[in-house]
């Protein structure tokens, strides 16, 4: 057992704990913060299932973003769905035997890596070339894109340029899951790739990546438009009507 293996094993345990614990905590905070008033952005669905559909359209198609800006939509959608395929493909390193659907998307997932980096590059270009977007970009906005692009490029590098010992990597990952640590190959590209992924997991709950859970808690999107039919009451903004204060 090398020091390297121990360090990366601990790194992934810590990163996973931060990701799960941090996002879980944020979701807990969001869910227990009251939404005192009905504020859906209308026209809004008038039923709960309509709201589920509205959220699904936002998650799957980025509906509002499509209305806003076709370029941002194109790059953003490309990146996110390529990322989804890439992540699904990576499940093969965490499962034995590999699930049939994951085997099926393997070829797609491989090339999705290029689409992902292309989408990210487009998003990053906007931060330089569109003066409004340049104005609002902070160092962290740039670094987040750098991080994701670096993850994508190191991954593509291992797949298409300098292969890493993928069998050993899988053994390491399965070892993490089974608490039976296996040696991690000392391939520098692999180590950078893994380190950056761990970093991404760790900063998820303290960064703008919270947009993922946040979407589901946005009152403008997740409320049913039925204030006249159902009286909306919450913890602090409720109770029998009090008389108006004396003028």
């Amino acid at each position: 057992m090398t020091l390297l293996t121990i360090l990366f094993a601990l790194l992934f345990y810590v990163a996973t704990a931060l990701l799960v614990g941090g996002v879980g905590y944020k979701i807990y905070v969001y869910s227990r913060t009251p939404a005192p008033l009905k504020i859906p952005t209308t026209p809004a669905p008038v039923t709960q299932s309509g709201v589920a559909l509205r959220l699904a359209r936002e998650v799957v198609f980025f509906e509002s973003l499509f209305k806003s800006s076709k370029w941002t939509w194109l790059f953003g959608w490309l990146f996110h769905f390529a990322l989804l395929l890439v992540v699904l493909r990576h499940l093969r390193y965490f499962t034995e035997p590999v699930w049939a659907p994951i085997v099926l998307i393997q070829p797609l997932g491989t090339y999705a890596g290029f689409a992902m980096v292309a989408g990210l590059a487009g998003l990053w270009a906007r931060r330089f070339f569109v003066d409004r977007v340049r104005y609002i970009s902070t160092p962290s906005d740039h670094l987040m894109l750098v991080l994701l692009i670096a993850i994508g490029l190191t991954g593509l590098g291992m797949r298409f340029v300098a292969h890493t010992d993928i069998v050993a990597v899988k053994a390491f990952m399965l070892g993490l899951l089974r608490f039976d640590w296996q040696p991690l190959p000392a391939d520098p590209v692999l180590l950078v790739h893994l380190f950056l992924v761990a970093a991404l997991m760790a900063i998820f709950p303290i960064s703008k990546l919270l947009h993922a859970p946040g979407l589901f808690f946005s009152p403008a999107l997740n409320q049913v438009d039925n204030p006249r039919e159902a009286r909306h009451v919450t913890a602090w903004a409720t109770g029998a009507p009090k008389p108006a204060k004396e003028a």
Binding site: K26, V29, Y30, T33, P34, A35, P36, L37, K38, I39, T41, T42, P43, A44, P45, V46, E58, S64, L65, K67, S68, S69, T72, G76, R126, V130, D131, R132, V133, Y135, I136, S137, T138, S140, D141, I206, S207, K208, L210, H211, G214, L215, F217, S218, P219, A220, L221, D225, P227, R228, R231, H232, V233, A237, T238, P241, K242, P243, A244, K245
Partner: protein, 498 residues
Amino acid sequence: MAAAPFATPQLKGYPVIPLVQQGAMAHSKPFVASAPIQKALGFPEELVENWQDKAIAKMGELLGKYRSLRVYMDTCVHCGACSDKCHYFLGTGDPKNMPVARQDLMRKVYRRYFTFAGKYFPWLVGAVDLTKEVLDDWYSYYNQCSECRRCSVFCPYGIDTAEVTMAAREIMASVGQGQKYSNEIIGKVHRIGNNLGIPAKALENTLEGLEEDTKEATGVDVRFPLNVKGAEVLLVTPSADFFSEPHVESLIGYAKVFHAAGISWTLSSHASEAGNFGLFIGNYDQMRDISMRVREAALELGVKRIIVGECGHAWRVAYNFWNTLIGPFDFLDQRYPVPQHICECTYDLIQRGALTFDREANDGRIITFHDSCNVARASRMGGMPGGQFIIPRAIIKAVANHFHDMAPETIREQTFCCGGGGGLLTDDLMELRVKGALPRMEALKSVVDEHGVNFMATICAICKAQFSKVLPSYGFEMEMIGGVHQLVGTAIRLGSPK
């Protein structure tokens, strides 16, 4: 603080997204509320000594009370989808009028005091201390937002800048930096009963005058009842409808509808205001207390229905919030929606054939319809989503022959604010109001050039007042603006004169 001269923007034939011009509107800020105005609402009379601590504490309180604020502070990814959607940005080019940048004025402070990244790596995430300069920026730019929610329509997370603006104004008022225009008006509602400060006696005289005028114009005894116990309908309408042009024309229209349909109705001197500026300053207690006058009046008069007149933000508060703030309404007739919009009422009567019209009476008008932001994006009419767009247009088409919509990306849920909403309808913000009207004026110009439109109908008292003021700046006639029920009132058949 005399307003500096400014140039009215040129109307172009097509929309142009301006280049960022930093600081272009940094000088724009409304008068700060004076000590007596602040005191009347229970706010500190001037900026308190430890305002920084108080403001941060207030922000913490609001983060715990409003899920919207809590989630919206975290969720923005700076994608820029909203960056070209605000009429104030389009009209001024000031980057802090981009919704994302406006939100960031608060988000920077939120990050500094409430997040790990901002506490330890402020430079990385653009976190800043709440300094006097930041507070001044807040006062300037959170008073350049009309809370119209157009940005929210385009945000992939639904982030509603109005929620942030309301929170910022609430924080500022709570440390003694209130806005004069809104807070003064709220004081008037508590003291006198309406935003314009019309006492009951003057209201009575006005309504009598309207009865005489209408009799003279039509030969029919159309009544304008006040404080009539046992009436079926309590009409709550913006007080501008009593005194301002063109607002009063719509009030006459409502009265004619009730007359023609044989509905007994009344106004109330206690609830002689539909408007609720508590919304604009983000103050829940004010919003509830102002609304409560309506419940009290309805109970006192023993009415069966409450109908709300043409007023955008009032309809938002009535439609979305009244049930929560002053409900339940179990004492009212449940066969009708509670509350009901005057357009819903008129539309239902038209559907049932209870009203008839001489549409030709409106033939001199070539009409377009301006969707008011709070009706469009923060409420509904009728049973189906989007009824707030369908119903007013259906009414116009039922009472007039010539109607043309403006460009699709400037109406319905994508409508542009008039430029004077959200507590900004004050002379000390005239430059902002004129420039903020630019996108609507461009869309209007297109239908004026193409179809000869000469009348823009709307259902909001603020829109009517704002357009009356800014239309001339863009070379249009002030009389182009009017209410939907002004058109109804023109065409409606009242039966034979007595």
